[in-house]
């Protein structure tokens, strides 16, 4: 199995008026080609930033301090804006955002926006571009494509918009899709429908998906591997089975336990005592230590290195 994405020791901060936000501090993340890889963690832990780094859309105040982001072996951190635009965005890596309500340009029709993506591929005649657009919309199971094309975003429901987004992002046949909490803004029933579309893509294409969420239950349905993020670091990466049956990091265990306890509400991360630390002056050593029941003295001094504790099972905890 080839790795399509390897993030190595990525450290990234933001300059703000209140100080330096140490948003990512030594992130390691490997994604296998053709796999669905989940990235889970509480709001503000750095999931979106990780995705935006891969597609080169970080805010201007971001500063990359060290590390590598290898996409098919090429370090994206060395790419210029122009290289990202020509070689990566849309073509190799596409991204779907959290809020479908604001992800489509309100003043252009669905057809215009879909065609815009498809046309970036190669110069083809109008006829076949329109055919490609219709195929894409069928692929994400949108009904009544003909009339949909003439519509404007405000005329679609959130679920439809999000499927249009996926179709649009697949318009250039990228190898990887970053889905940043794509179902968070959707109703539960619509979520299921959306996940079925993704499952279908998984079964019929070789698309790699980095699926960002703060909902562990969603991941169990579609992901092969999961990385758990806490305050700017990946604390555990394992197959979906290992995460549930054999969670190792104290934080992961709490996540899994809270899901099992509260079997109705799957949006469970809030139930862990304490809250995510602010990333201006984050806790030294292991960033989880103020909330960790297993913490020892050392934990507030030493940054836990990433260890392999089983096949493809990585954990960053001093006591493992």
């Amino acid at each position: 199995m080839a790795k399509i994405l390897e993030i190595r020791d990525l450290k990234l901060s933001f300059e703000t008026e209140e100080g330096t936000v140490e948003a990512l501090d030594g992130v390691y993340l490997d994604v296998e080609e053709g796999h669905f890889h989940g990235l889970i963690g509480e709001t503000g832990c750095g999931k979106s930033i990780t995705g935006l780094t891969v597609i080169g859309l970080l805010d201007n105040n971001a500063r990359i301090e060290r590390g590598e982001v290898l996409f098919r072996g090429k370090d994206l951190l060395k790419f210029t804006e122009r290289q990202f635009q020509r070689e990566i965005r849309g073509k190799e890596v596409a991204m779907v955002f959290q809020d479908p309500a604001s992800s489509l340009d309100p003043v252009f029709s669905i057809k215009d926006q879909m065609l815009e993506a498809v046309r970036l591929n190669k110069k083809e005649e109008k006829q076949s571009n329109e055919r490609i657009v219709k195929e894409l919309l069928n692929k994400v199971k949108l009904p009544d494509v003909e009339s949909l094309l003439e519509k404007y975003p405000h005329q679609l429901s959130g679920g439809m918009k999000q499927r249009v987004m996926i179709a649009m992002m697949l318009g250039r046949n990228p190898s990887m899709l970053i889905a940043d909490e794509p179902t968070t803004a959707l109703d539960v029933s619509i979520q299921a429908q959306f996940l079925r579309v993704l499952m279908d893509l998984k079964n019929t294409t070789n698309l790699t998906v980095l699926y960002i969420t703060h909902n562990l239950a969603v991941l169990t349905e579609i992901c092969d591997e999961v990385s758990v993020m806490y305050a700017g670091r990946i604390v555990e990466t394992a197959s979906i089975g290992d995460v549930f049956n054999n969670p190792s990091h104290p934080y992961t265990r709490k996540l899994v336990n809270s899901i099992l306890r509260a079997d109705s509400t799957l949006d469970s991360l809030e139930e862990i005592p304490g809250s995510v630390p602010r990333l201006i002056n984050p806790p030294p050593g292991c960033r989880f230590h103020p909330r960790c029941e297993e913490a020892v003295d050392e934990c507030s001094r030493v940054i836990p290195p990433v260890k392999e504790i089983g096949t493809n099972h990585l954990v960053a905890c001093l006591r493992r």
Binding site: R89, K91, P106, H154
Partner: protein, 311 residues
Amino acid sequence: MAGRKRSFWIRRIVRTLVTAFGVSLVAFLILHLTPGDPAKIMLGPYASEAAYEAIRERYHLNEPLPLQYLYWISGVFRGDLGDSIRYNRPVLELIKDRIGPTLALMGSALFISITLGIFLGIVAAIKRNTPIDYFATFQAVFWLSIPPFWLGILFLYIFGLQLRWVPIGGMVGFTSLIFPALTIGLRDEAWFARPMRAEMLEVLNQDYIKAVKAKGLKYSSVIVKHALRNALIPMITMIALRLPWVIGGSVVVEVVFSWGGLGSFLVSSVLARDYPVVQAILLLIAMLVVVANLVADLLYSVIDPRIRKES
């Protein structure tokens, strides 16, 4: 949907008509708001009794006010705006002679202010917090803090008197249009550049901008196609709302530059108490503003599909 759309337009047009009626009333009442006998106001205190009676007859001043209005407004619809007391010629003819220069001046001023204001707004947003952005702010504050008549005099002094690049006032071809147009246009440019910058920044922060970038669209296309189109929508109102100031500015500037348009004509007619002319020009200006607002709404519905399809 079509029904709702139609009722929206019916309501909009009714509102325009009501506004138009209101402003026509104001223009009409101008003469009567001034205390004293309108005939004496128009002719001055030293005319003969026969002359007073003639003017009362001509403008139906012996009739009750509502009837006078009806006479006046039905005249307006027939193209009879009365006769100028000063020139003893139909007001309509006098206006026809002068409306061209005014439209040329206002048109150029608007063109300068809109293109420059929008351009500087975009550039300032893209290059925010850089010297370019600071320069855009600085120039806007600069133009806004100079009174138009003073700026006009300054231009005349420097470019007319000292450098002799342009004629000192009057209307001698294209060159004499430049500085009057700049005097109005620069001020309004300053007025448009700030909100345009704010709109652009707001739009550039939207998810859909990130999304079109994620598709792989070129930066220039992202700006020109998506950001600009969205940021321009609220600017339509800004521009329509600004129109009265553009008109007001052109009145002052026409006087400063001896521009033979409606603005300077209005001022001289006020001074000469040539009320039929004053009424007609005020009515014209007010109608222009009313129509511009209607056009702005129409434009909205063309550019913004959210309005086009729903309301």
